[in-house]
Structure formats: structure tokens, C-alpha cells
């Protein structure tokens, strides 16, 4: 695929073309109150015409994940007994997401396994929303201490899964298309081909971020060398998992996670007589009620069992079913944990323990 050069001054032109396809939601850097400085200050918000000219693509992933664009926190999924009701408006309107990082793209590939690629049941709402997305990704120009995408086979730059990808270099971006729609958009910009020195500048930048990540995470490499075997092997005992003891079951980790998709269905009366609505709402395996049954029986009764289930699901169950780990290594769960729990350290603890017992 051809790589072009997009001069800084032309970024707004690109955004303008994208706005022609539908609403644009972009990862956006903004000033935040000082007590939140530890967080990146990068949030996803709608990009409207007035912000077009000042918009810059941040070099780091947003605080928000993008899953709510395909799995909203609360969405109507049935209106019964109206069999024909299906929420999503027909039409060509797209939702354009800008500034996704490689980990964000990876999250869609993971969610697709459950909601789209299931041979028996495709979720029609997910499908419609997913098909309406235009994904415009960009390279990470820096990483945080909590990023560990490299431990899960990802890179801080996207190689696939995007419509358009941008790589920041001196004076602008290298830009490439990953789909026919991307091609069409780029054609509209009539850009010059990237020069060889620009491509090597990009490659150098990419390498630098990757090397930093590798350095940050070198101590955890062993625990991630086969987390499925590790988690299933260490599950039976609570020893080795003691870092989980500060978990307060707040569900922050599952909410901020771009690939935690557990939900529950609930029904209520509609506005009309004898009309009812069904909603899908985010749920969390960190809540006791998640698997509570009649008579108080609960296969995940203890808080530690709930805590471990998140790991078990991500690194064992999901892997067994879909042949991919359900984690992108984005580090959001570490950023946001009330119990100050670092997933990498938990797995390393389990690793050390399982090593002792073999």
C-alpha cells in the first residue's frame, strides 16, 4: 500500500473530508485539573467544525476506550411484541473514530470474535454499529509505564485493522490506507508520496517507542510467555494471587477495559400499553451478583474467585474458545484500579508461585 505525506497544514482538510461521512469522535488532548495530571488528559470527544483547525492527534491512547461505539453502556435490544423493531437506522451515515492506537484497533478484533464471528449467533446491533465505523488510527509517539501491548504480541503502531493510519513525523504525518474507503479519502487529498528518509524517520520513531516498551516490561516477560497455562495452573490456589487482596470489587477495571464486554439484559414496560423494552447494560464479573443463583449458590462466591475470574476469562477461557488473549495490553485497568493492582504483577506473582510448585 502506498504511503503518502500529509503536511501538518492539511490535517484539517482530512478531518473535513471525514466529517462529510458522518460524525467524528476523536481522541483529544486537553488541559485537565492538576489532580488528574497522572492521567493523560486525553479523552474522546466529538470533533465539530469549530475545532477542526486546532485539532491535533495525541501521541498516546485516550483515557476512554472505544467499545461504547459498538457496545453502548446501555442500549435497547428489543421492543416486544414488535418483531420488526430493530434500533439501528438504515442509511449511509458513518461514525468516524480518530486517533485510535494499535491497542484500540486490536480491541475491535477481539470483540468481533464474540459478537460477529460466532457461527451460531451474530449480534445484529453490534454488526450494524461495527459496519458503520471508519477507523483512523495513529502511531504512539510515547508509552506509559502501564502500557504492555508488546507482551501480548501487539505493537505501539498499527499494522492492520484501520481504514487510515497516520504516523507523526517532522512537519506532518505519513499516511496510509488500509481499505477501499481509505483509498477514496486519500485520493480526495491528492498527497505527495512519502520520501524514503521520511519512512526511515517513521521507522526509527516506531522502534524507539517499542524499545522503551520492551524495557519497561522486560521483568514481566516470563509471566506472559503462556498466560493460559499459567492462569489455569495457578487458579486452584489463592496463594500467588495475594496482590488481588486489595481489590474492592469496584468494577473500574472492567468498565475501562476496551475488551470487557460482559452484560446483562433487563426488561421494563414501554410507553405504550402492552409494549415492553429490553436493554443490554454493561455488567461486571467483579460483582458478586454476576453469577449468583437460587438458594445463594454461587460458583464464584469469594471475592478472590471473582477477582481471579477476570484473569481466567481473559487468559484461559477466551483463549481456549477464540485462540486469542482477551487483553490488548493497553494498561487502562492499571491506571484506574482503586486497589492499586497491576495486572502484570498479579500474573508475575502467579508465575512465581506456580514455579515453586512444579
Amino acid at each position: 500500500m502506498n504511503i503518502y505525506f500529509l503536511d501538518d497544514s492539511k490535517l484539517s482538510g482530512l478531518m473535513r473530508i471525514l466529517l462529510g461521512y458522518g460524525r467524528v469522535f476523536a481522541s483529544t488532548e486537553r488541559e485537565v485539573a492538576s489532580n488528574r495530571n497522572s492521567q493523560s488528559g486525553i479523552f474522546v470527544r466529538e470533533l465539530t467544525k469549530e475545532y477542526l483547525n486546532s485539532y491535533r492527534i495525541p501521541g498516546f491512547r485516550a483515557f476512554d476506550n472505544f467499545k461504547s461505539f459498538v457496545l453502548p453502556a446501555r442500549a435497547k435490544v428489543a421492543d416486544y411484541p414488535d418483531e420488526k423493531w430493530i434500533d439501528i437506522k438504515k442509511g449511509k451515515d458513518k461514525t468516524i473514530l480518530v486517533g485510535l492506537k494499535a491497542c484500540d484497533l486490536a480491541s475491535f478484533a477481539i470483540l468481533d470474535k464474540v459478537f460477529l464471528d460466532d457461527a451460531d449467533f451474530v449480534d445484529p446491533f453490534y454488526k450494524k454499529r461495527r459496519e458503520s465505523l471508519i477507523l483512523v488510527s495513529s502511531d504512539c509517539t510515547y508509552s506509559s509505564d502501564n502500557c504492555f501491548c508488546n507482551l501480548l504480541g501487539n505493537y505501539p503502531y498499527a499494522l492492520k485493522g484501520f481504514d487510515i493510519n497516520l504516523s507523526e513525523i517532522d512537519g506532518g504525518y505519513l499516511i496510509e490506507s488500509g481499505s477501499s474507503l481509505g483509498n477514496k479519502v486519500l485520493e480526495g487529498l491528492s498527497l505527495p508520496d512519502a520520501k524514503e528518509n521520511q519512512i526511515s524517520e517513521r521507522d526509527k520513531k516506531r522502534k524507539k517507542v517499542l524499545e522503551k516498551l520492551q524495557k519497561t516490561n522486560s521483568e514481566f516477560e516470563k509471566a506472559f510467555s503462556g498466560p493460559d497455562i499459567l492462569v489455569s495452573g495457578a487458579f486452584d490456589s489463592d496463594a500467588g494471587w495475594d496482590l488481588g487482596s486489595t481489590c474492592v470489587s469496584c468494577s473500574a477495571c472492567t468498565n475501562v477495559c476496551p475488551v470487557c464486554y460482559c452484560f446483562t439484559l433487563f426488561d421494563r414496560e414501554g410507553k405504550k400499553k402492552e409494549q415492553y423494552e429490553r436493554y443490554m447494560v454493561w455488567d461486571s464479573c467483579q460483582f458478586k451478583g454476576f453469577s449468583q443463583m437460587a438458594g445463594g449458590m454461587n460458583p464464584r462466591f469469594s471475592k478472590m474467585d471473582q477477582f481471579k475470574n477476570r484473569y481466567y476469562h481473559k487468559f484461559f477461557r477466551f483463549f481456549k474458545r477464540y485462540n486469542i488473549y482477551k487483553c490488548t495490553g493497553c494498561g487502562r485497568c492499571i491506571d484506574n484500579c482503586l486497589g492499586d493492582i497491576d495486572m502484570r504483577e498479579v500474573l508475575s506473582g502467579a508465575y512465581a508461585y506456580s514455579g515453586k510448585n512444579k
Binding site: 411484541p81 460466532d118 457461527a119 451460531d120 459496519e131 464486554y261
Partner: protein, 286 residues
């Protein structure tokens, strides 16, 4: 980004179809059998389950207790225990409309039973899904060696499908073995937990051929646990034991991620699981 999904017609997997309540039969003080007329025929296999909606209240999973096949009506036997089931027991009347989604799950491995004896072991309301199995076995009785129905209930008043035992027993190749938990003035039969029907002596009395049998069991989780241990104790192999496992469910279609044992989802891979497949995973019996 263009996605090639497998269905182009937008079938809504969360939509419940309407059904009309035709009849209610009281089995015990807390268990009733409901007969529903469906708005469209559907095909279900013994052991597959339905999601039943009480409009505006919510959904809960139940395995039909009536004969499987291509049906326009079905029976579901339900114990009163919470939000949805309270509403059903207390308020829903004959002629009312409810809604159903399904069938879901794999159902019992009927082909495996050819040429074998089948021990059907139920406890409490657990006999309900097994009744569909019993009918399915009757339907192919020429291929089955024997059916031993073993059922435990708390008291005579807590037995489901009481008026059918005689008819079952009168059939060739079928034995019905009942027990209640504690002695009761109206009860002349066996007393003890359902596991007492699985003691070596008793199996001998039933003329059960352990090596040539499959066991299918459904009941409360604790019962399944002790039944399994007893079966292993008397010489059954894990491969011969099928258990109707219970987990909380919401979607029924392998998405909401809660009804799991090891890597399995009961809604897609079960709800009946071969004990050999699950025994090494954590928290099998809670």
C-alpha cells in the same frame, strides 16, 4: 470497514416470541407445569432450554419438560424462587401472553444411548428437564436396553409428575425408583437421599449393567455433587456421567459470559455436560 457477517437478514437474537398460556397444573406447592401455545412451530431437542420472558419483568432459563420434536405447544415446569418465577406463580393466568426465546444449547447426546442402559437421576424440580429426556427415550425404546428412572424429592407432596409414574413403570424396559428425604406417614416406599438409589445393592436389585450404561442427572448443585461422587464410587466412569449444570444465565447465546465452567459456556456447550469434560476445572460444584 466492511465486515462480512454471516447473516444478512437482521435476525434479532434478543427478541422473545409471543406465546399464550393454555394451562397451569400444580405439581407441588412451589412447582407448577405451564403449557404454552407458541406463535410459530419450533423444533427442540431434549435437554435444550428456552429463555422465558414475563413481559416487562425479565427472563429466566428453563428446560421444557414436554416431549421434544417439532412442536406448536410446550410444557415448562417451574419452581417459584425469585423475580420472574414469583410473577409467573402469583400473577400470570391462563390466556395471558408471555414470551419465549430459544431453543438454546446442545441437548442430551441421544445417539450415545443406543444399545445402552440409561439411568435418569433426578432431584426435586430437576425431574422436569429429565421428563423430556424420558419421553425422547420412550420414543426410541427399541434402541435402548433399559431405562432406570431414579427420583428423589423432599416429601410425597414435593414429587413432580406424580400421576405419571404408573404409566412409565408399566412400559417394557422401564423401572421407576422413588425415594423421599425423610420418613412420612403417607409414604411406604424408600426413604433417603436420591444417592441411596445408586448404592451397589440397589443397582443390583434394579439389574443395572454399570459398564453398559449412561447416567443423566439433573437437580440442585449439591445433589449433583453427591450423585457424581456416589456414581464414581460404585464404578461408573466420568465419561458415562452427564450432568445438567446450573449457572446463572442472561443472554443464552454465548455472549454475556457468565454461565461458564472452565472454557465452556453452558448455554452453548451444555447445559448438560459430560463429567469427564469438566471435572478438572475449578468450581465445578460451586
Amino acid at each position: 470497514m466492511l465486515i462480512l457477517g454471516r447473516i444478512n437478514n437482521m435476525e434479532n437474537i434478543y427478541y422473545p416470541r409471543q406465546a399464550t398460556l393454555k394451562n397451569i397444573k400444580e405439581e407441588t406447592p412451589t412447582i407448577k407445569t405451564y403449557r404454552f401455545k407458541l406463535d410459530k412451530k419450533l423444533k427442540f431437542k431434549a435437554g435444550q432450554f428456552m429463555q422465558l420472558t414475563v413481559p416487562g419483568i425479565g427472563e429466566a432459563p428453563f428446560t421444557p419438560s414436554s416431549a421434544p420434536g417439532d412442536v406448536g405447544e410446550m410444557e415448562i415446569t417451574i419452581m417459584k424462587t425469585g423475580k420472574v418465577t414469583d410473577k409467573l406463580h402469583d400473577e400470570v393466568k391462563v390466556g395471558d401472553t408471555i414470551a419465549l426465546r430459544g431453543p438454546f444449547g446442545k441437548g442430551y447426546p441421544m445417539d450415545k444411548f443406543d444399545g445402552k442402559e440409561v439411568l435418569v437421576v433426578g432431584g426435586g424440580v430437576g425431574l422436569a428437564p429429565l421428563r423430556a429426556l424420558i419421553y425422547a427415550l420412550f420414543d426410541k425404546i427399541e434402541k435402548i436396553k433399559k431405562i432406570h428412572i431414579c427420583y428423589g424429592a423432599k416429601s410425597p407432596a414435593d414429587q413432580c409428575f406424580k400421576d405419571e409414574y404408573k404409566e412409565w413403570e408399566s412400559r417394557k424396559k422401564v423401572s421407576v425408583n422413588l425415594t423421599i428425604d425423610k420418613p412420612h406417614p403417607d409414604w411406604k416406599g424408600r426413604v433417603g437421599l436420591v444417592t441411596c438409589l445408586l448404592e451397589k445393592d440397589y443397582l443390583k436389585k434394579m439389574n443395572a449393567d454399570i459398564a453398559n450404561s449412561y447416567v443423566v442427572s439433573c437437580g440442585p448443585e449439591v445433589m449433583l455433587k453427591f450423585v457424581t461422587f456416589k456414581l464414581l464410587d460404585v464404578g461408573f466412569k466420568p465419561e458415562q456421567i452427564y450432568l445438567s449444570m446450573n449457572r446463572r444465565m442472561s443472554c443464552g447465546v454465548g455472549k454475556c459470559a457468565r454461565c461458564n465452567i472452565g472454557p465452556y459456556y453452558l448455554c452453548k456447550d451444555g447445559p448438560d455436560m459430560c463429567y469427564a469434560d469438566i471435572k478438572d476445572y475449578p468450581n465445578v460444584f460451586g
